[in-house]
Symmetry: C2
Subunit: 296 residues, 2 copies
Amino acid sequence: MSARFADRLIEGVRQKNSPLCVGLDPIPDRIPVIFGQSGSIAALEGFCQAVVEIAPRHAAILKPQLGFFEPFGPEGTRIAMAACAAAQSRAMLVLLDAKRGDIGTTAEGYARATLGPAPGFSADCVTVNPYLGRDSLEPFLAAAERDDKGVAVLVRTSNPGARDLQDLLVDGAPLWRRVAEMIAPQSDRLKGNSGWSGLMAVAGATYPEEARALREALPHALFLVPGYGAQGASARDAVAGFARGKNGLEGGVVSSSRAVLYPQAAQAATSLADWRVGIDAAMAQAAAELREACAA
Amino acid sequence: MSARFADRLIEGVRQKNSPLCVGLDPIPDRIPVIFGQSGSIAALEGFCQAVVEIAPRHAAILKPQLGFFEPFGPEGTRIAMAACAAAQSRAMLVLLDAKRGDIGTTAEGYARATLGPAPGFSADCVTVNPYLGRDSLEPFLAAAERDDKGVAVLVRTSNPGARDLQDLLVDGAPLWRRVAEMIAPQSDRLKGNSGWSGLMAVAGATYPEEARALREALPHALFLVPGYGAQGASARDAVAGFARGKNGLEGGVVSSSRAVLYPQAAQAATSLADWRVGIDAAMAQAAAELREACAA
């Protein structure tokens, strides 16, 4: 793990020839019954293990969403950690979607819990919320700088409510632009040999014009683009903030969760083998759509 | 648990005759060695149990800070849950300081994990981050409305970095004021017979003028005031946003962590009995200072 996170991620994307990030959102009532009783911890565990066996074929990075594990209590956290470890053992990177944000020693605690070694998650990158300001991000940046990890800051999210605060105008520019300006001076601290920085920006796919404006503000930041697939954005929209490299567009990853985890073909499967075929096809399709959008 | 959270909290504050909220921040290297080896899970557990035995004498509510438990992994979460249960069994309310913030089904998951019954935390109230907008708060509000719980929204925090975004001017008023206006229409959903609402606002004690302005924007919100004690605000500053009732100032709780958990007298204790005396005195003093500030 000597390479910087940004270099490891961009190299993984190049190897897969697709910026697909598999979002691990284990929604209890959508997990097929072949994994166990709906809402059971056994179903959660079996489903996550099975997803992690297929995802590395198509994606360089896995994004487990902690909000789907924590309702199961400490046992849920344990299963999330096992999924992270399993993904990493299959050469996938792990971006833990935890959206943490706190100050001082508390933020240090969250940085250790998410990026640090066992009993931490040992994730390669973690999502953080900027509302508390620079001093709330610093402990994550310091940990990432020291251990070659990444930090993905929520800048412009893809949900309808993102308009409520993130789009408010401050001196003529939206608040999310101020967030980008606030983190921009730290970008070099997590920059790799590739020129890309592991200080990532979360940039919702549902607003491609904004992604392009965000790229101007953060020229070296790798983007984490949520909202592709189930949330309605096209592959072309999703990569709107990417930059043109010698092999097409690059500069981030695009997360897909529901479209790749719960495709109709897999939901109807009556055997694990059939489910695997359905998931494999859905992930292959998402990866191919994004590959084409980057090549275009 | 038929009474609304706001009524239970204000009633508890009246019974203790003090708005003290004990912040449970178990900082590994400050936990006295009488509880076990520094940084050990045994020390964490013993310390939290001992604090929870004393806190109900002086405070109506306990605020465990999850960022100090999560670095210990699932076992840390289990100890945090045990501390919450122990506090509630001693008739304290629990405000879980988790600062969660996410959208849709993810936010529902966090609401269930924090406010919901086992394997959730069964907390009475939880801190949430507003950056993602109204739809990110809604699942917490819905859960709180249904189960007589509270939601404490970060409005203006007490750290230096709060200036970076929260104080930016939007049409002449700071962003935190827009956050207050955004949540104000929901206040009545968590309002109790006391007239106070369990849709709480986190209002840093280091900015008393702002606390008064925030009170105008949110006349019925109970305030959670952090930053008292170690962070340098006076008791009088801390209650600056409270309202005048027939028995003095009321309308929120004031959190103290380090001053009541790590007073010099207790840090030097060589026996558990001596430590207890030191902690009891520190909590009594904090409660009295706040009592006097409210009576003045």
